[in-house]
């Protein structure tokens, strides 16, 4: 099963494998979403969307549909 950022639990971390979008937004990469980087799910909005993540030193929020396009290498069960 493929894990994406949307599958992470609050506080969980993962390593970005690739960005699988039909058209990857350049801005997302420029904010730090680069394959190989560790991503941490900081908070989930009370209504389950958007997701607040930390990656490559940046903190930002994206919608679930975007998070589903960021696939992860493996899960590190590493609570912060």
């Amino acid at each position: 099963m493929i894990h994406t950022v949307a599958d992470l639990h609050k506080g969980e971390k993962g390593i970005i494998d690739k960005l699988s979008f039909e058209e990857i937004p350049l801005a997302l990469m420029e904010m730090g979403c680069i394959p190989g980087k560790e991503v941490t799910l900081m908070q989930i909005s009370p209504l389950n969307d958007p997701l607040y993540i930390r990656v490559n030193g940046s903190h930002f929020a994206i919608r679930r549909e975007t998070a589903e396009g960021i696939t992860l290498v493996k899960r590190l069960c590493d609570e912060i």
Binding site: E23, I24, P25, L26, A27, L28, M29, E30, M31, G32, I34, P35, M42, Q43, S45, P46, L47, N48, D49, P50, Y52, N56, G57, S58, H59, F60, A61, I62, R63, T66
Partner: protein
């Protein structure tokens, strides 16, 4: 000849304190203008260097990358590419923040690769110890081939060093840093390099990646650039590769010079986030802040507003007495002074609202509100970023519509612009107040709730509800291309800087006064003309009324107001009111209300003033206007004119109709077409008419 002033531009990510540094460098010399042809604000100021020479500093819009995702951001690219422009920078200051240095360096390396003189200013240096960060400055300077200045804008430290660095602008290295060609497509980039010798390689690459030609480029170069254009997919692939390698390059540098001792970091962010984005407390706190904000907007503003009101009416009376009679002086005393007063009176409310918005933005809280509200707003075709405009709309739709600029997605933004005027703005308040007082008994329900207050609250709810429902409908109906996706930075929490808040409030209030003010003033003058000129009966009003009143035992004061009322009836605006009477009679209105409706087009609050003239009350005293209005009888039904059905119908009409020229003008400016403001005017007008008609028919 004196040499021209140096041009220095500030570039940087949002939330780095770039504006704080700009404020420190320029202070009160700053001005906000516009870039030619577009509505992006251009902030410029003058900075005095230590040797006394003056330089021009421009604060470019905040951006994460030189590749633009919005109109504001494209200014950065255009400024840096157009070296024929007289405002082309002699020096670029890239502002970075100590904690987000990695992401900030992405932009820095892009700027540096354009081979313009660029220095790096690292802000919030005072936080380094607390966060356990240390930087090998000399090492970093050597690798980046630049000057690095550590500052802490909040504590005003390091500003002198920035000024010194500006003085030495000639000494900086202008070689590029990142070798774009090697990793991506050596052959392709080598080709570019040899064909476009006039530009740096990175500049050529940026020129190729843009859809339109940017800046001043010779026809020859344009043709050459066009030969290198890539298909969409390949272009994206190359840009992605570039970003990946650029980050890799930055990571490798930072490994050598940037150290973080995590054990020292005190994590304020996650502690505050836990509470402020909590599923219960998050919303409770947000609602509490909103309530406090509304309370302040109406409470704190009432004293200065009363003062302004009094001042302008005194000024009007004084000028009437002291200026000689004549058309021009009438224009001043009855057109211009009340017109300006009508604008100035909104300054307190608008400034207080902006104060709240500025503080919430400065602290980083606004991003959390967007985070909390996005899902809810999306159901209605908007974005979390629409919350701020909708809140601002309760003071005035004009600044609220300007605040939609940071909504990236065009469809979300358009819908927000279209529905914002439904929210109950402060100009509707005086209208509501007088009609409610007239038709709703001053009684209490269950001993606590005032009936009148309840109706007023219902009107606020009606405003929000109609904004949200129409957004929902527009979302289903509108076919608008938009492909921007949602991303919002969650900045660190910080204490707001007084200086930043002050300049922000000042600048936005000024924009309101100058932008909306011009229109309100112009319309006031037109209305004044229409009300002070008219048919033959208008010219002979004094004679006719005096003759009619012979033997009727009328006091001089009453006679004067009779004349004023007769004049208004026969003025052009009175004639217009009578002309539209057949159209508004089904709603329960007569020509007098028609006049008020027409004059409300400048600004809604004119309603009360117009009524006071129509019902021949000498002063603006609400009590007296109310009595006259209450005594008004409908000649057909023999009932009171302002009975419950007509009054409610009028309330509903004012809740929905877009009676605000200022809003129309700003929507035209922001959407760059007349299509949307006309759509809004007609749509809201039809809705207002139909709902008012239904209200009247049901209650009759």
């Amino acid at each position: 000849m004196k040499s021209k002033k140096l041009n220095v531009v500030l570039v940087g990510n949002p939330n780095t304190g770039k504006t704080s540094i700009f404020n420190q460098l320029t202070g009160l010399t700053q001005k906000v203008g516009n870039y030619p042809g577009i509505t992006v604000d251009k902030k410029q100021g003058t900075c005095k260097l230590l040797d006394g020479s003056l330089v021009t500093i421009t604060d470019l819009p905040g951006t994460y990358s030189i590749n633009p995702t919005s109109l504001d951001e494209s200014i950065v690219l255009e400024t840096l590419l157009d070296n024929e422009n007289k405002e082309y920078p002699d020096l670029v200051i890239v502002v970075a923040e100590v904690e987000n240095l990695k992401r900030n360096l992405l932009l820095f390396t892009q700027v540096k690769d354009l081979r313009v003189p660029a220095i790096l200013v690292v802000n919030m240096a005072d936080q380094m110890c607390r966060k356990g960060i240390s930087i090998d400055l000399e090492g970093l300077e050597a690798i980046l081939k630049t000057k690095i200045v550590l500052v802490s804008a909040r504590k005003k430290e390091g500003i002198a060093d920035v000024k010194n660095a500006i003085s030495n602008y000639k000494e900086y290295d202008v070689s590029s840093l990142f070798k774009i060609s090697e990793k991506i497509d050596q052959a392709y980039f080598d080709e570019i390099k040899s064909s476009l010798k006039e530009f740096s390689l990175y500049k050529s690459w940026l020129l190729i990646t843009q859809q339109n030609h940017v800046g001043f480029i010779s026809e020859d170069s344009k043709r050459t650039i066009d030969t290198f254009k890539l298909d969409r997919e390949k272009l994206k692939k190359y840009q992605h590769k570039e970003t990946i390698y650029r980050y890799k390059y930055i990571n490798d540098i930072l490994k050598k010079v940037y150290f973080v001792d995590r054990s020292k970091g005190f994590d304020l962010r996650s502690k505050l986030d836990k509470v402020l984005t909590h599923k219960v407390f998050g919303y409770v706190i947000f609602i509490a802040i909103l309530l406090l904000m509304f309370q302040s907007v109406f409470d704190w503003a009432s004293a200065p507003m009363d003062f302004i009101d009094e001042f302008f009416s005194d000024l009007s009376v004084w000028s009437k007495e002291s200026l000689p009679e004549g058309m021009l002086f009438d224009l001043i005393t009855e057109g211009i002074i009340p017109g300006i007063g009508g604008i100035v009176i909104f300054i307190p409310q608008i400034a207080i609202l902006f104060l709240f918005v500025a503080v919430l933005e400065e602290t980083g809280y606004m991003s959390r509100v967007v985070f909390l509200m996005d899902k809810i707003m999306r159901r209605f075709g908007m974005s979390g970023k629409s919350v701020i405009p909708l809140i601002s709309g309760t003071a005035c739709a004009i600044p609220a519509i300007m605040a939609t600029r940071n909504i990236g997605d065009w469809k979300d933004r358009l819908i927000t612009i279209l529905v914002t005027p439904f929210t109950t703005c402060s100009a509707r308040l005086p209208v509501y107040a007088i009609i409610i007082a007239l038709i709703i008994p001053d009684e209490r329900v269950l001993g606590i709730f005032s009936m009148q207050g309840f109706v007023l609250m219902a009107l606020y709810v009606l405003g929000f509800a109609s904004a949200i429902i129409s957004a929902y409908i527009l979302n289903k109906v509108l076919k608008v291309e938009s492909k921007n996706f949602f991303i919002i930075e969650m900045p660190n929490y910080k204490l707001p800087s007084l200086k930043n808040v002050f300049f922000d409030v000042l600048e936005k209030t000024k924009a309101f006064v100058l932008g909306a003010g011009k229109i309100i003033l112009a319309i006031s003058i037109v209305l004044w003309f229409l009300a002070s000129n008219g048919t033959d009966d208008f010219t002979n009003a004094e004679k006719i009324v005096t003759e009619n009143s012979v033997g009727k035992n009328i006091s001089e004061e009453d006679l004067e107001s009779e004349i004023a009322s007769f004049k208004l009836e026969n003025s052009y605006i009175g004639v217009m009111g009578k002309m539209i009477e057949p159209a508004i009679a089904p709603l329960g209105y007569d020509w007098k209300i028609g006049i008020a409706l027409i004059s409300s087009f400048a600004a809604r609050e004119v309603f009360v003033g117009t009524l006071s003239t129509i019902y021949s009350v000498g002063s603006d005293n609400e009590g007296t206007i109310k009595q006259r209005m209450a005594a008004e009888i409908n000649p057909v039904t023999k009932e009171k004119r302002f009975n419950l059905p007509a009054g409610m119908s009028l309330l509903v009409f004012y809740a929905f109709a877009l009676q605000c020229m200022g809003t129309l003008a700003i929507v035209k400016r922001e959407t760059r077409s007349w299509k949307w403001p006309i759509f809004q005017l007609v749509g809201m007008g039809v809705l207002a008419y139909v709902s008012a008609l239904i209200t009247f028919l049901i209650l009759k």
